[in-house]
Symmetry: C2
Subunit: 299 residues, 2 copies
Amino acid sequence: MSVLIVGSTALDSIKTPKTENPRLLGGSASHAAVAASFFSPVKLIGVVGEDFPRRYLRLYKRHGINLEGLQVRPGNTFHWSGEYEANMNNRRTLLTELGVFETFTPTLPTAHRETPFVLLANIAPSLQHHVLDQMRRPRFVVADTMDLWLNIALEELLRLLKRIDGFVLNDSEAQQLTKEANVFTALCKLHKLGPKYVIIKKGSHGSILSGPKGIFICPAYPLPRVMDPTGAGDSFVGGMMGYLAGARGSIDTHIRRAMIYGSVVASFCCEGFGLKRTTKLKRAQIEQRMKELEKLTRF
Amino acid sequence: MSVLIVGSTALDSIKTPKTENPRLLGGSASHAAVAASFFSPVKLIGVVGEDFPRRYLRLYKRHGINLEGLQVRPGNTFHWSGEYEANMNNRRTLLTELGVFETFTPTLPTAHRETPFVLLANIAPSLQHHVLDQMRRPRFVVADTMDLWLNIALEELLRLLKRIDGFVLNDSEAQQLTKEANVFTALCKLHKLGPKYVIIKKGSHGSILSGPKGIFICPAYPLPRVMDPTGAGDSFVGGMMGYLAGARGSIDTHIRRAMIYGSVVASFCCEGFGLKRTTKLKRAQIEQRMKELEKLTRF
């Protein structure tokens, strides 16, 4: 089955103490779509400007990503620029130019409206709602978010949580939303807001799922060197949704393995700037790390 | 087989925003010894003053802990007092009265010198050396430490690392010692200092082992409520060494399960002040959480 992914499609300029990487392909939907593409057909919903490099359109296509829902509008593509500190943990935003993203309305091609799996990657909750409004009985809907929306669109986000099956957020966002430092107490509180499945991402410490079958402690793949963590969270949730869409059987049967696959794709994402490493990935390399993670956690 | 444990034996006064708990049984060796006692016979090496409550001696004995190596000296028992913030993560020391600990020289009863498993729990590296000097060809020696010794006894600690099989420290200490924020790079650097097995503790994020059989990602047991994390790290390493001493076969065969058992005992430790919860523990309850951890991590 296929997965529909809506989110930001951007150009990222990423500075580290050692290098500058201008205008990389980025955005939550780009990372999630490429990650999902290793496991199932992907339909991308987004917007880019006239400046969007053709090579990035070719890159999407090489991954078999359906671009019928990608709008090309007069103006510039959303451009984000950020700088990482030497430890690659702290980053600060240098510049945000919304460009064509400012007036983006995600309108779905008719054929897209029956896609069974929907990933509402990080984007304004109002746009996530707008996509959901157009869908016809999707089988499994997951939303990601970021601290910005907790600050400026909390009401819409809370309303969204009642409409989705799964909610993915990182530990600091979970703490901000629930006022609860303990991850497991935060998970309980998050369920009460609506979603049956809640996943808290903890970066290099892995992630925690709480769902109908209880808690799952999902490890991160060990990386001795992180080049650029931008998009790792999007790759994680994209890989997970791609795997779920490609698997037969119930969500509960597959969601743990799906998270591990997400974790593996996210690890590759961290090993290159932007999508550079992820786009060179072969399925066999994913399976290799999958097996390694099994060995690294077996006792 | 039995395990010899040296470390601090103290009275801990622990304040939280809600309660005060004066003069609890504490110290690295007390926590480690009680944790180890669930799995194998323990010989405790330490010192207490004349003020040491008899009920704590009875408590050690109830756990079958051999007290031949516990010195009772004129003066007061080492007394530590600390205060936790509401989130139970940040603590500050209010008071440290060394008492009889100031002049402690760990002299081993002759019969103790052939104990096969040795845990040098957190204590001054010079005393850890002194214990090792008295041992006759121990099979497996593990040392724990704390930031204080990195600051004031680094040279002796580095010399100790060349004499032990396993080294256990927490993530911030590993970063301080190696100047490396990445856990996996830090592990490589720590091996170069001597130990064949290195374990980095990450609190509620679990722990990571690096050894001859590679990396092991060890989860922490999920706790929705932490009452008092004092001694959790000591319980972890104590439980691990107790399990290893009680297991037949090679270290490599058992160390992963040993860490999981340590993790489980540490989780109980966090659920009560001082050793209050740990001392009420039954082996069946440990096995129950062990099984749960298997379920929580299986994929």
